[in-house]
Symmetry: C3
Subunit: 430 residues, 3 copies
Amino acid sequence: MAISQQVFLRDAMRRLNLTRDVFAARIGVKRRALDTWLLPEGSQEARTMPEVVSRFVTEIVENAALMQKYAQSAQSGPLRDRIAIDNKHQLLSVDQFTRESVEELFRVADLMQPIARRRKVSRVLEGAVLGNLFFEASTRTRVSFGAAFCRLGGSVCDTTGFTFSSMAKGESIYDTSRVMSGYVDAMVIRHPEQGSVAEFAAATNIPVVNGGDGAGEHPSQALLDLYTILTEFSRLGKLLDGAHIVMAGDLKYGRTVHSLIKLLALYRGMKFTLVSPPGLEMPEHLLDQASRNGHVIEQTHDLAAGLKGADVVYATRVQKERFSGENLEGYSADFQVNRTIVDACCGPDTIVMHPLPRDSREGANDLSTDLNHDPRLAIFRQTDNGIPVRMAIFAVLLGVEGLVQHSLRDVTWTPPSHIGPDDSVFHGID
Amino acid sequence: MAISQQVFLRDAMRRLNLTRDVFAARIGVKRRALDTWLLPEGSQEARTMPEVVSRFVTEIVENAALMQKYAQSAQSGPLRDRIAIDNKHQLLSVDQFTRESVEELFRVADLMQPIARRRKVSRVLEGAVLGNLFFEASTRTRVSFGAAFCRLGGSVCDTTGFTFSSMAKGESIYDTSRVMSGYVDAMVIRHPEQGSVAEFAAATNIPVVNGGDGAGEHPSQALLDLYTILTEFSRLGKLLDGAHIVMAGDLKYGRTVHSLIKLLALYRGMKFTLVSPPGLEMPEHLLDQASRNGHVIEQTHDLAAGLKGADVVYATRVQKERFSGENLEGYSADFQVNRTIVDACCGPDTIVMHPLPRDSREGANDLSTDLNHDPRLAIFRQTDNGIPVRMAIFAVLLGVEGLVQHSLRDVTWTPPSHIGPDDSVFHGID
Amino acid sequence: MAISQQVFLRDAMRRLNLTRDVFAARIGVKRRALDTWLLPEGSQEARTMPEVVSRFVTEIVENAALMQKYAQSAQSGPLRDRIAIDNKHQLLSVDQFTRESVEELFRVADLMQPIARRRKVSRVLEGAVLGNLFFEASTRTRVSFGAAFCRLGGSVCDTTGFTFSSMAKGESIYDTSRVMSGYVDAMVIRHPEQGSVAEFAAATNIPVVNGGDGAGEHPSQALLDLYTILTEFSRLGKLLDGAHIVMAGDLKYGRTVHSLIKLLALYRGMKFTLVSPPGLEMPEHLLDQASRNGHVIEQTHDLAAGLKGADVVYATRVQKERFSGENLEGYSADFQVNRTIVDACCGPDTIVMHPLPRDSREGANDLSTDLNHDPRLAIFRQTDNGIPVRMAIFAVLLGVEGLVQHSLRDVTWTPPSHIGPDDSVFHGID
């Protein structure tokens, strides 16, 4: 490049208004590497930045400029107003997002990474109370939302169990929601019945997050899935526009793929390959919606054929608990994503995802554990991303995203450099 | 009035030692309104204070003077010592209160309103741990106590389920209580058996709050009910002495009305109209107790007749779960408090209350939802008041009520101006 | 003594590098008493230190010197590295401890006492989140760990119930553990199956504490038991080396005594008397292990004979829930530790312990309640010690033990001087 890499990088950081730490995280490199690229060329420790980084940074800066221009015209005011539903700061569906607003949310999630990775602590929501209302068991989603709220400094009141004691006595959703709203500052609601979370949300003006409503939506899962894809692509120097996404498994009842395909369809020139056992195909209306945007959609029952050229393989569990007439205990072995088929059909830059939990019992033929040591398996990076994404959702809905950066303090304790013994080297805390 | 309203109001605030914010809250007006009354008379924005406010403030100042006098003689020392039971800082029954001490508690609750209404944050109990022990399901009471403790800066350890695992192994209440007391700084206990909370309380010196013990007491509910009546009356410019209170519904098993009538009987010249289906009348000993104080008590089975001239209509749910022989699924339609009968029999200043939950299923004939948009319906203002009242209970029992005022910080997030979409305009956060 | 007691005491505090508060706690006397000993001899309030205190302080100083010498050679680096298992900062078994490292842990627990006794507050772990995962009900252990973490300033996410919702869907322990590790900073795991906690621990690099794994270990219980013995002995001016420990009851399934005898065997010249009903004797491998260290072990079925000369009587509950073929509802009356037998066989300095819960139902013949007012009964001092010991475990595993001392602030609330109405005078908070 014509200008020196130091000038180029400094200029990029200035235009993007990012610190070195955040910039390094944004482009998926270690802070130490960035530092060596920023050293004067004569310096002994100085290193040359790889070409892909240069291209990626150029892309980011150009996109940011576009985005800013867009922001100055169509968009204005806080993000929570732009994604609002019925003028309320609530997150019920991925349909509330545009490409621009979802990426703005992810920039807030990027801000949360130093906290999620336990290098920094924030108390920006100190004094706020979350009502974490789970009318259906989902331990991990509950803990993920709860931990995210705690990491912003707030407190959490949990409820679990199939029903509130008061609802068992005939209380309406309207009353339950309005009463809880007087106690807490935000609610996450998980409920087995589709539409019930919207009913809760209608009865209150406080922020409500849909934590999954039966066959309905689970927007925070789709958001963390998309965030994971973007983060992984950023590390690999790929762009999402034009990518090839394979979704494999139970695409009929797999709620997560329904929401994810909607979000991915906000990008340009996508290719979706949908691999499912007969009878578990993706519903027509979702196919229509995605293809209206000019994306290429292919459907097949042949996993090996489908995986060819995939940038992302998104495998799903059989949602037995939602079956109405289908007769299936697990997948046949033909539908299992495992090391053999991934090695045979995918490249070194493919990433393998799954919404978890995966059924690891024999005969389930869910995503195989033989990929656990393979750096392409992104499933735990995916669940890890639940924390920054859910922190971003809370911060945006409560309108404190602008206070986070200056609220950061160093952690007092010393976390392990990698939280999982099989975590890939590029996924360390540092 | 002879003196200018500015001098009058300033003098009142000085005598009562209240800030403008707290004074405005005390008299139930917006701070903005108070500000306009305090402007110099010539000023463009200045407004004339309504006559009712002037009377109300006069009454408050006179009462405060009386109270102070009383305080200097009979009462002395911290409130928690005056309401103590067996020399312990515990709240087991409404019988622990006099009119003076209950109003002193409510002045602390008033201090908590800026926190409860999410304008201020306090961390005055930072480091303290609450044991929130629910041996009987009562999700909302549990969350209300938990959120109240969190809003004071404390942490909460919850237990739910019909029994402790240790008690299932034959552990005595004495042991359970003493062991838990070594872990936490205060306990709320909900238990299905009458008297059991007192047994817990006897085994510890740490603050214990009775969160409901079967057919026994639920003092925090009665306190928030009385606080709601006083707050509503304050807004309406009414005094509680001499008021007409209608209690309607299951007065036999409705624990809340039993405790509430005891507290109301601390006031002067009350008229109680008790409307119940045959067989669900208020127990004799409570009637005796209330009438001993010279209050007028009328009993009827005719709801319309009973509602005439009511200042407060307190409706209750059928406590089916406490029935021993009675044969009743819900109320007959004759006992339903609904819009038609309220419009027909009550004035614009009547307030309608209910301990909640209400049974909104068809045929239950519990308090009707057709009043939801009627500003006379105070049920959600009532549950909202659970937070400041329970905060006050904790602050008083732990002896930190004097530290609250100076611990207040502004909230970082921006809550909605009204937490419920149907909240009346006078019930905004601002 | 040749030198004045003031010089002696000041020198000791300097050598031990302890504040007056901590030093007083270390030697088990009230701060006020220590203060009077430190006053100039002529002063009116000055008191003479008892001979036993002088001997005890001498012992402590000498031991500390030895320990320091030892520390400079064999030991180095943070405690968590020395007790690490598979290079991880996890606590799975008491086998991870030497006498030196266990006493180092207890010095950290001593630091925690002002917090545990509610005189001080620390926020040293602010921003950290504990995953308190209880796959088996154990309310009090869960609350004890949770309260300990809260008292260090952290937040707690609890899970209870026999299984995770995700594990019910076939998720492996590996996946559950790794996913949770992305949400929280440390995990406590209680699980009904022996070995399962180690499986959880293997799948993560974050600190894991074994909260009990079936017939396996429950190391924090054994540690608080040993800490209690040492603290009680310190108060009584006794040394643990050479002490006579009686363990009575179900020694076959009583997990706590298995771990405790291993820890006690780290000391010198112990005498263990093991009293159990026929068929519930301590397993052979534990007897072998303890006797290899040269300790004296006696086994008997005669409680009265066994109690003679005991320094500690450790009674246990019948672990019916772990019986496989044994036919026993409770103990026969012959095995009950009660006032009559303690008065007949034990001296005034014997201490009586029990892991709790004790079965207080008639016919269970578990540790009798008729000792509740006897100062020798240490069971509640024992459970109280769960807080400082568990705080120490967390602080050490997370590497913040060095920050605690300077993080202390005064409590804002005023706790009772004794938390239990029957607490002995020497067990006050002050």
